[in-house]
Point group: C2
Chain length 206, copies 2
């Protein structure tokens, strides 16, 4: 019995410690970015000793990549849930995504922004490898949104000459700019402005 | 004679040292932001001893405000020159502003972005006073652009129901997002995408 439970327990503990570090890292990096986050802060919040951290990750940079992997995975779920929902018309799905973003900003009192956006801004201080990794995440988001816009175009909710790829990329960097401005103003006003301008001028059949 | 020249020379040196620190700070903070820039790096590049720095600024935060003052002043000149040029139609002035931004990004090999955007992203790590100061700079930029858009509307280059204030604010945060993405991609493609989408969908008479 003891041997049978020991291994699963041990491996559960190992996975828990690693997962807790990644979870805490995702939270803190969404607020402060990578460079200005000290390792001590992560260890303290996760209640994990430094030795454990290095056992799982080897370096702060490798930890950063694990946090990006986790964030990408969480966002892939969120974008799948919101932007691929066949029961909702495609442009309404995008509106729902924006509404969920508004709620997220309010929930965390405008402290948390986009982890990928935060790290993207730190490029001067980060490794080239981070740059490629972050571009890959942005490209995958443009794909999710592009698919949704292509559906809208197919339904004639967008004009026949609408450039889906161009609009999807534009959407994301304007979104990142809006999130930053919302954090700065501590108000959802920039996100609501983003929503109004996007739907009035860009994502419109007129 | 000696007494007459001594004072001006001394004061010229004093102003030069302070100005050099602010100039170097503006360059470095446009690349790396405030938090991840060490004082040593600024002192070394400006070739100024630490004592001098504290003599002029007292603290890194006060230096940060002096750099923002300088950046705001430089941008007020740039926006006046480009967005108030009576010889150029208002929407073309905005196009010119974007072109100058493209040249600036290329000139500094995509290392330098917007100092105000950079510092805006660091809010989690910075003082409340910085937040208000940065919002004030953004508000002044929205005013410059809003005036230009109002002129375009008056000439019927924009529709009669065009919301100038809303579009001006949207323009700036989408611009900040585009600059960040350009730095990340090391390409002007995001800026050109910004330009195309803005002029095709938002800044258009249709």
């Amino acid at each position: 019995m003891r041997m049978e439970t020991a291994e699963p327990l041990k491996s559960r503990t190992r996975n828990d410690t690693r997962a807790r570090l990644v979870h805490v890292g995702t939270e803190i990096l969404s607020e402060k970015g990578f460079t200005s986050t000290g390792l001590e802060e992560i260890l303290e919040k996760a209640e994990v000793p430094k030795g454990s951290f290095y056992h799982y990750f080897g370096s702060k940079a490798k930890f950063g990549f694990a946090v990006i992997d986790n964030y990408e995975y969480l966002w892939a779920q969120k974008l799948t849930r919101l932007l691929r929902d066949p029961a909702v018309p495609p442009l309404e799905r995008i509106d729902n995504y924006i509404s969920e973003g508004v709620r997220g900003l309010e929930k965390y009192a405008f402290r948390r922004g986009c982890l990928i956006g935060n790290m993207g801004q730190e490029m001067a201080a980060l490794d080239e490898e981070f740059r490629f990794r972050i571009l890959k995440v942005f490209a995958s988001w443009a794909d999710y949104l592009g698919d949704c816009l292509a559906e809208a175009k197919q339904r004639a909710d967008l004009p026949a000459d609408f450039d889906v790829g161009e609009a999807a990329r534009f959407f994301w960097f304007a979104w990142e700019g809006a999130v930053l401005q919302a954090k700065l103003e501590r108000s959802v006003a920039p996100i609501e402005r983003f929503r109004r301008v996007m739907f009035k001028y860009v994502l419109t059949g007129a």
